[in-house]
Amino acid sequence: MSDGEYDYLIKFLALGDSGVGKTSFLYQYTDGKFNSKFITTVGIDFREKRLVYKSTGPDGSSGKGQKIHMQLWDTAGQERFRSLTTAFFRDAMGFLLLFDLSNEQSFLNVRNWMSQLQMHAYCEKPDIVLCGNKCDLTDQRVVSEEQARELAQKYEISYFETSAANGQNVSQAVDVLLDLIMKRMEQCVDKSWIPDGTVRANGPTNPDISESSDRNKCAC
């Protein structure tokens, strides 16, 4: 499943109430398709994508490309049968927090998801991108862009209005999250928060990053 060379294995977790479109969102991102019926292969709970990340310096210059193997984990509704293990949160490096612009309760529950994240993620302020999904359903919309932006601002996280149906802002949201993660890794003096297996031992890795494998709290 993870053949071939890569520099970084990045795990993202999609969170949010049931029915907000997490699975469709990830499917749109990895396969560029929307399947409203969703005939899926039962048992697959994450999707994968390979890409090359080029960091951009403050002057706009781009650095050496890093091969990224991205795993996008989906809870796929299993939280209705079993409580999500805290490991689910702990192992992820970034979070896509989705709500449904046509479902106010899913927006109100964003604060619950945020407190869960602050409690169980690898550090108290993990990288999160908030997505107001189903923005294509304009006539059913009940959450305004201002409300959503206000909430995102309060938590100091980025906000996107997305549509898993037509693809609007889907890859942009994931790109911003990846950028946050890569910047955090570059900036982190203490690399000890990086979960095991993130940096591939046999890949052309940065030795500074691969040195430590302790799972301490983020120190940045």
């Binding site: 049931s18 029915g19 699975t23 969703f38 899926t40 039962v42 048992g43 709970d45 994450f46 796929a76 509704g77 299993q78 209705r80 049968f81 079993r82 293990t85 490991a87 689910f88 702990r90 192992d91």
Partner: protein, 130 residues
């Protein structure tokens, strides 16, 4: 070779049909009647003892609609005249993607009726972080 189904297989199939029919098409309160008074349920690793606790768990699962599709079911008679059932299938809840599940039942004849004494349920999910 076509042959007559064994009695324990017929009873087992009848139970499975009734169980998932009630699960999918009722408010799930009635499911408790299929269990013996002191039955055990293990739901995703969490134990529930007794008909009341089991009914409470099943009736309060957080979804509106559920549909089970049985892929395969196997039956065995036990040495103490019970029936062991293993069900392997898929379920779909509200608008979520379908998931695989496994469920094992033990049926025992009590007062001239068959009741479920043991029930073990698991989703067919792998790659669970520990």
């Amino acid at each position: 070779m076509a042959c007559e189904k064994e009695i324990w297989q017929k009873i087992g199939e009848g139970f499975v049909q009734e169980y998932y029919n009630q699960f999918d098409n009722s408010n799930r309160m009635g499911l408790g009647n299929l269990y013996s008074a002191d039955a055990c349920l293990t739901w995703e690793g969490t134990p529930f003892q007794g008909r009341e606790a089991i009914t409470g768990k099943l009736a309060n699962l957080p979804f509106k609609r559920i549909k089970h599709i049985i892929t395969e079911q196997d039956f065995q008679p036990t040495v103490d005249s019970c029936i062991l059932i293993m069900v392997f299938g898929q379920l779909q809840v509200d608008d979520d993607p379908p998931m695989a599940f496994h469920q094992v039942f033990m049926l025992k004849s009590q007062n001239c009726a068959w009741a479920c004494t043991n029930d073990v349920f698991r989703l067919g999910i792998h790659n669970i972080p520990v």
